[in-house]
């Protein structure tokens, strides 16, 4: 590299010198006559310069005729050569005196020693490198976000298409059975919207009303969270199905008093733990339905045998057998109040409100890989729902069954009251104290002393009466005990 550099310098010099020389020649013929010896000094210089390190070049123009090149070499020999060159060359006067350069001999040495020091290359900081490769983690993050957004759009659209496909399949059946199909509760008039209510990107509702036997039917399409990439990845480990949940609210006069459930064993065990009515009225373990011709995958929870016998007629068994893979649970109850409510203070002070309800939970075929055409497979199940509504109206318990049912309900209520007795007592006590305090305050605030005295007397009389009543009761209890 250094040799190349030196060679270039020399070429440059040579070029300029020869140019100067050629200027002297007016004719081309004279060039031929140019004596080779004139280049002798350059030959020496060229040979030496090829082998040695970069040198400083000084071009001196002494005459118009000639241009002398002086090379400051690193070796004394070089300088010697230079001296020879100088003497060979026709330099009439040197611009610089040798004495001037006495102290300068060391300089090339020091500069060369400096050149011999190793060059340390400092690492350029990453953010100044202008290289995108160093930001690979950021690029990865942004790519992940883009993937999440893409999955969100695709998942949302798929759920929407599935919901629409379900509605298109079932619309005719629903419109033939219900006056109002689709209502969001916001319109002034009760007119069918004819479309699903979107609660979420994966939950769609449909309210149907205006039919014999029932107040209304709420259908909830609970799809998988296809719009959430995390959920999609979790489902790869554990496949889950889309579900259709149907809740029919019956009229009080159109359903008798019983609690009954049929479904997969796993679902029934879970429901028995979670649901208030199933845990109170169906305390036995789920029983096999083989006696009624049901497949082994389905089990039965019932308040009494008569209900099971009444419910499991030929058509119902046919529905349950043929569509067993799609049925998660079927739950009929006159005491339905939803899941058990866990309150921090302990038991709730009064029994929760109950409604006569038929609940159905169906699994959409496909185990997550559902297509719109799979929704057609659920149509027979809707027929089963309609049939169940009419059946619930027709089915009535006999006298014994009714008595048993009433006894059960009374027992549950009594248990509940016992459990809450202490809480109710405390609540009553606190209410009484509150009343007393309010009365005392009223008396204190009364400005008229006469009125105050009268109010105090009235309060005292009331207290005495209460005490007397209590004493009377205690006496009566004692007498009875005796």
């Amino acid at each position: 590299m250094k040799a190349f550099h030196t060679f270039c310098v020399v070429l440059l010099v040579f070029g300029s010198v020869s140019e100067a020389k050629f200027d002297d020649f007016e004719d081309e013929e004279d060039i031929v006559e140019y004596d080779d010896n004139d280049f002798a000094e350059f030959e020496d210089v060229m040979e030496d310069s090829v082998t040695e390190s970069p040198q400083r070049v000084i071009i001196t123009e002494d005459d118009e005729d000639e241009t002398t090149v002086e090379l400051e070499g690193q070796d004394e020999n070089q300088e010697g050569d230079f001296e020879d060159a100088d003497t060979q060359g026709d330099t009439e006067s040197e611009p610089y005196d040798d004495e001037e350069f006495e102290g300068y001999e060391d300089k090339p040495d020091t500069s060369s020693s400096k050149n011999k020091d190793p060059i340390t290359i400092v690492d350029v900081p990453a953010h100044l490198q202008n290289s995108w490769e160093s930001y690979y983690l950021e690029i990865l993050m942004v790519t992940g976000l883009l993937a999440y957004i893409m999955n969100y759009i695709i998942g949302k659209n798929k759920n929407s298409r599935l919901a629409q496909a379900w509605f298109n399949t079932h619309r005719e059946l629903l419109e033939s059975n219900f006056t109002l199909v689709g209502d969001d509760g916001t319109n002034k008039e009760a007119t069918s919207t004819g479309k699903l209510n979107q609660e979420n990107e994966h939950i769609y509702n449909l309210w149907c009303s205006g039919r014999v036997c029932c107040e209304g039917m709420l259908i909830q399409l609970r799809f998988l969270k296809r719009q959430d990439l995390l959920n999609v990845l979790a489902r790869m480990m554990r496949p889950v199905s889309d579900q259709v949940q149907i809740k029919v609210t019956m009229n009080d006069e159109d359903m008798d008093t019983y609690v009954f459930a049929v479904g997969t064993r796993k679902a029934l065990v879970r429901l028995q733990k979670e649901m208030q009515d199933l845990s109170e009225f169906c305390s036995d373990k789920p029983k096999s339905g083989a006696k009624y011709g049901l497949p082994d995958s389905l089990a039965i929870l019932s308040e009494m045998g008569e209900v099971t016998d009444g419910m499991m007629d030929t058509k119902m068994v046919h529905f349950l057998t043929h569509y067993a893979d799609k049925i998660e649970s079927v739950h009929f109850s006159d005491q339905f109040s939803g899941p058990k409510i866990m309150q921090e203070e302990g038991q709730p002070l009064k029994l929760p409100d109950t409604k006569r309800t038929l609940l159905f939970t169906f699994n959409v075929p496909g185990s997550g890989n559902t297509y719109p055409k799979d929704m057609e497979a659920l149509l027979p199940l809707m027929n089963m729902v309609i049939y169940s509504i009419d059946k619930a109206k027709k089915f009535r318990l006999n006298r014994e069954g009714k008595q048993k049912a009433d006894k059960n309900r009374a027992r549950v209520e009594e248990n509940f009251l016992k459990l809450t007795h202490v809480q109710r007592q405390e609540a009553a006590q606190s209410r009484r104290e509150e009343k007393k305090r309010a009365e005392k305050e009223r008396i204190m605030n009364e400005e008229d002393p006469e009125k105050q005295r009268r109010l105090e007397e009235a309060a005292l009389r009331r207290e005495q009466k209460k005490l007397e009543k209590k004493q009377m009761k205690m006496k009566q209890i004692k007498v009875k005990a005796m």
């Binding site: 983690l137 993050m141 976000l145 209502d183 969001d184 205006g210 039919r211 014999v212 959430d228």
Partner: protein
Amino acid sequence: MSTNNMSDPRRPNKVLRYKPPPSECNPALDDPTPDYMNLLGMIFSMCGLMLKWCAWVAVYCSFISFANSRSSEDTKQMMSSFMLSISAVVMSYLQNPQPMTPPW
């Protein structure tokens, strides 16, 4: 006519309007994911000023919260969580433009 009425189960006079079930009744059934993710997003946004990867996790949390949110959910809450996470990322890079180093 009467036979038609008998076979047709529809009763226009028995129509009941839809009442959305109050969420207080079924707190267990309500999915808590969007609320948790919202909260996590805000916490990670605060930590993001010190650690870059926290800021990125905050952005992911706000996206997940948005994807799982209910339609009745307040959009202002979502937007504020989202903007907070984005600002955490921007501020951490303004403060320290070096590329992120993996936390492991």
